[in-house]
Symmetry: D2
Subunit: 411 residues, 4 copies
């Protein structure tokens, strides 16, 4: 490639610092971009480091609000969960950061975007598909997939050596024996010792949540109000604290969930490339919101609408996990899912304690729940004789089947 102005998704870590230097050595001009999506990071130090290595400029963009409002909230509203357990914290951050990258590239006249994601992970795909969807003419360079780069850097040792040779400062603290990716929604951990799915994650790994064993000894009660499937208020009953903006709600529930050890999961998942990987996640606030939303949703939605909606949400979770947040199918299915939430409006009360968030009560004026009808003590508006016909009709198909094929086997 000829010499170009490149926008590099920079993390301040060893990999992207080496990539920065390497791109500079190739004769490119490099502007670094850091998205603040809520991770703990010394952005000032990272900026200085990049500039010292030779970056023309370093952009640090606060995307927390955008991330929460345009990605986390819709995902919770849609009820997205990947393979029954993963709330998609990293998958959601990638298209958000991609917006930052594409916008910054346009502003700074960069025709190329580069990143440090490796060739076996999901993130490369999420970044690149998002960038291409947002700007089909952009070029993306992934050094970890370039033969030249991979041959030069066979592993961490080569990077450390290269850093030393080029006066790139390397963190003095010992690298944790796993990697992590953090944002305001969650932290994910993988690699290193986690690569053996039989080894339990060590307690010291977790950073957002207390161990349930050490967490608060008293439960707390939280009340969450949803409008059209989106959380619009969260209150902790004991403290009386109330938050209303998405970013505030999430921060607030992260604190509560963290103190009570809520939202840890440890699993093996299927990556888009077709391999399985082990991940450990902590997602305190979003877990509380997900539990609350799921409770209210079944309460408010028509039974059949709920089934269709659930099918669509499982498709959407795959789209998002696989990097297709910006795609015709995600745009379409998202519009369908949002439409399903029109009446998911009401209040859920949850008890939070020792790693567990449990809905204990819910209210809604949009629910068809009918206490009189549900009551076993009142004959109510449904004639009890109606069920006789209903059962007779449903039994007919079974009886006909058994007429031809014999009765069901009692074993």
């Amino acid at each position: 490639m000829s010499q170009e102005r490149i926008l590099l998704a920079y993390s301040g870590g060893l990999d992207t610092s080496c990539i920065l230097k390497w791109l500079l050595e190739k004769g490119h001009e490099v502007i670094c971009f850091m998205a603040d999506v809520g991770q703990e990071e010394d952005f000032g130090a990272a900026r200085e480091k990049a500039l010292r290595i030779g970056a023309t400029d370093v952009i640090v963009k606060d995307m927390k609000q955008q991330f929460v409002e345009r990605f986390v909230w819709p995902a919770l509203q849609m009820g997205l969960i990947y393979e029954d357990r993963y709330l998609l914290g990293t998958s959601l951050a990638r298209p958000c950061i991609s917006i930052g990258l594409v916008e910054a590239a346009a502003q700074r006249g960069c025709t190329i975007i580069s990143h440090g994601a490796t060739g076996k992970g999901n993130d490369q795909i999420r970044f690149e598909l998002s960038c291409y969807a947002l700007n089909p003419t952009i070029k993306v360079i992934a050094p970890w997939r370039l033969p030249e780069f991979c041959e030069r850097f066979q592993g961490r040792t080569d990077l450390l050596e290269y850093a030393k040779k080029n006066n790139i400062p390397v963190s003095a603290t010992t690298k944790a024996p796993w990697s992590m990716d953090a944002n305001i929604m969650h932290i994910s951990y993988e690699s290193g010792l986690l690569e053996d799915p039989a080894i339990a994650a060590p307690e010291e790994l977790y950073q957002m949540t207390q161990s349930p064993q050490k967490s608060a000894e008293t439960p707390t009660t939280v009340e969450i109000i949803f409008k059209d499937g989106a959380a619009v208020r969260a209150s902790e009953l004991v403290s009386g604290k109330t938050m209303e903006r998405p970013l505030d709600i999430l921060t607030f529930l992260n604190k509560i969930g963290g103190e009570h050890g809520v939202g840890r999961i440890d699993l093996v998942e299927n990556r888009f490339l077709g391999l399985k990987s082990r991940g450990v996640y902590e997602t305190p606030g979003a877990t509380i919101l997900h539990v609350a939303h799921r409770d209210l949703e079944v309460y408010c939605l028509d039974r059949e609408v709920f089934r269709v909606k659930s099918f669509l949400a499982s498709k959407m979770a795959d789209y998002v996990y696989n990097g297709f947040w910006y795609s015709p199918e995600a745009e379409y299915v998202r519009s369908c899912l949002v439409a399903s939430q029109r009446n998911v409006t009401g209040k859920v009360v949850l008890e939070i304690f020792k790693g567990h968030a449990m809905a204990v009560s819910r209210e809604s004026i949009k629910s068809v729940y009918n206490q009189e009808l549900a009551s076993m003590d009142v004959h109510g508006s449904l004639s009890p004789y109606a069920a006789t016909g209903f059962i007779e009709v449903n039994a007919m198909r079974l009886k006909e089947h058994h007429r031809v094929f014999g009765s069901a086997n009692m074993k």
Copy 2:
């Protein structure tokens, strides 16, 4: 109806005792049937009571093993869960009890089966569809759906009066302000004060599980071994206790789960008749097994097989909830689901504490998990350059879409 020999599903409670008397008054001969599916019950006292009221005989059948092996185990193997949360404890017991009913009816020459389920619930449907599928010529009488019976008994007061008049003993203890249905898998609670979904279930309601607040202060670790998706061994690491038969495993895990407050849920669900009802469930052992199975399943199953299998399990959960355990579709889908579990073989370790069961490690020789391939530190067997082509191809569809319809919107 003419005078017949009727088999009555008898519980020993007020309703079925009054039904027994009422059927006798109509001139029928009545044999009572009680299935022991693990509920706490003084079967001797109930038997005596029924005989005193006038039953020709009372059959008490121990169906615990049958229930666990033919219903609970397959359901856990299939991963059944209704509307994302309910493990179907009552729904599974109904077809099991129906076997007992149909067999006893055949043995005792009863042409009619009667039960005390009401006209707005699911159980009437589950009992009757199961009975009809097992013996299409049987007749079922549901007094709570007979005009004559309903007119005579408008509510509990009429039943109490009738009991008094007929010397039917009524339990001296005050009736709990809710109803419950128990078996070895779970207890479900509904009705009464639970009919208001905004009122949290009182702590004294729960009988199988300790409150997380009062539960054991030390976590325990459990190891469960699955073969072809079915649990074949459970061990508690600290005590070294190990169980291998389904009934023993479930009893054992019920005890552990109960002590640690695992398996409570409180929700509103959609009944088959089309109304919503509020239910509270405690399912300690089966919750642990479900969590373990789900963890191992994603670990062992191919990604695409898992998706198809998940779709089928959601259909099957509806079938079972709605009373179609014995139906062409359930028979078919069950065979497909069991086939999917062929390689779900291995071990899962769970930490159990304060209402929460969490998988922390898993092992299997049937998983395609490939540590080297998953490792971010090793280039491994997948050429990193392959992902470039993979992404380029996937991006093409998105680019083409945006060529025609414009780029994705950054908002």
Copy 3:
């Protein structure tokens, strides 16, 4: 029931004439309602007959345009087809007629609607669910499900006798040995000799379509233009005739399709009640529109959107067939399906000949079809090397599977 003012869905035939008389005998006041949805009918004669029997009034409402625009067009736009073959002509007419019934009932102060549909068919369900959804307080009386009525009228002979006794004129022409239901979209035939699925439908049964053997000897070419999935223009190339309003388009294509023998099907279908029934249908114009729409849809829609949309359409077809046109789920899924059609805009050319309509060409400015990209002769915008990576990644999962479980079996 007390004496009420009843609105009777009247057909002019034997059944509803006897029902009319019977309701009058019961002391009710009866207003008859006939919806003109395009069936061949002497409405004047029917009106006179009803008045002579004793109806207070007879309403004949022209609902053809409403039927086509609000039911047939949306169904074709959504691509609804039941069990792969049936275009739902009768199922769509029922909710349309129900609107007429509910509106007329309101205008005339009728609190009860009555109809002549039998107790084993789908139509009773469609009528009643639609009426209840449109006006939950309306009452529906279905004499064919009333014990009193059924005991009096065991079959056709009883009806004929009753008619004779009451001076109800009976058509002199011999009744065809099947029943039919006609509207502007289709005619359906069932019952009588068609009840044996092994007996082929006789040629004289068909009324809208020529036998392919006797149909026109020259093909004709039709061009249909769709906007957002709805047909907005149809032209026959040879005659130059062009139609633009839905009702005109359908009438026009019925004529062409009829002359060319298009749209006959003969099948066994699953009724909502759980039994199977044999139906023969002729649907000339709508078949042409369906074939054209399906062709354009795959041309215009994104691959993944098409898959989701197809799943939703199969759900919707079941809803409509089962009588749930007016239901929360149908309202929801319909909104999703309509949203999917936003870009199904373009032109399809079909050749019509001897029972067959075949799309032979299509054009759209909303398709992502890219001739250069598709061309096998041009390397084009997709690097040929990209596919190598794409295949390598896809192969990895298969290889991993076979690493653990052995290679695929060549048998």
Copy 4:
């Protein structure tokens, strides 16, 4: 790559002849492999041509029976159809040919398989995924994706020139302005003038089927017997000819279907790579079998089983189209689909005429079809009053919805 013994999937055409020569020039030893899957081909001439160019050997393997029995028959039994219209003739042939390739490679000690499929089509994927699944250690070389090859051969002109220079005979007949792929199941046409979806395919393109206009003037009637979803006998009533082996049945029905112009389709489809392409297909015999099977299937299968089965078939069609015939998911779903066919046993009679095959009668002892139950004239085994309860229960959910959200809108 070093010099190896390569097995080349050879067609006798210009592309693979040039590839053969080019591989030889690279110093490899090349054995050619031709699978006879029923295409019209002068295998002797092709063999001679390859040997003259320099192939070490040419293997011509008759795979017709294997293709029909192991691929076509299961596909028809499963009811596979891609995007509602395409019966997958080419998709099915690829894994079959791959078996031939992998077996021949093993027998002849070839470590590499090469083919002439281009970089934008589906066939490269189908060949390679099949080969890798059958033998994960095999290497596949696709010259049309090798930079060196693509640079040398920019298009057809370069190939022609290379052929001339190397004395590779080129067919004297003018190349048709489209490409075709033929086997005993179908011929597919694409490329060239077909690349414009607005241009109708010219009549002279079709080779297996007569134009409906010129096809036989008298319909013929065919009777097909299925056992467990697979065709086991086909008879033409007028001639009395009967076939029983799959290959014979297909050949026989190809002849009948061809004479009557059955099985042409013209469409745009979505390729696995994400682009759309236009294809024209003629599939006479398999179309007749598909129509017959579909008819019998709804007749025999339980309603709910049919729905699940249809969902699975749509997944399987995608797997097969995309090249995953040999994959965990296809193996799994195929086993489910085959299980669904256990009772699809019976006879279908079709009328075949002028491009159209229509089922007109069917018989089965495995159908639950119940003439008495279906009859509108007999009250039969379903109490007509049962439907009242059935409707009341179904209406309740709708009424409840409308109680909260207002009645359905009449518009």
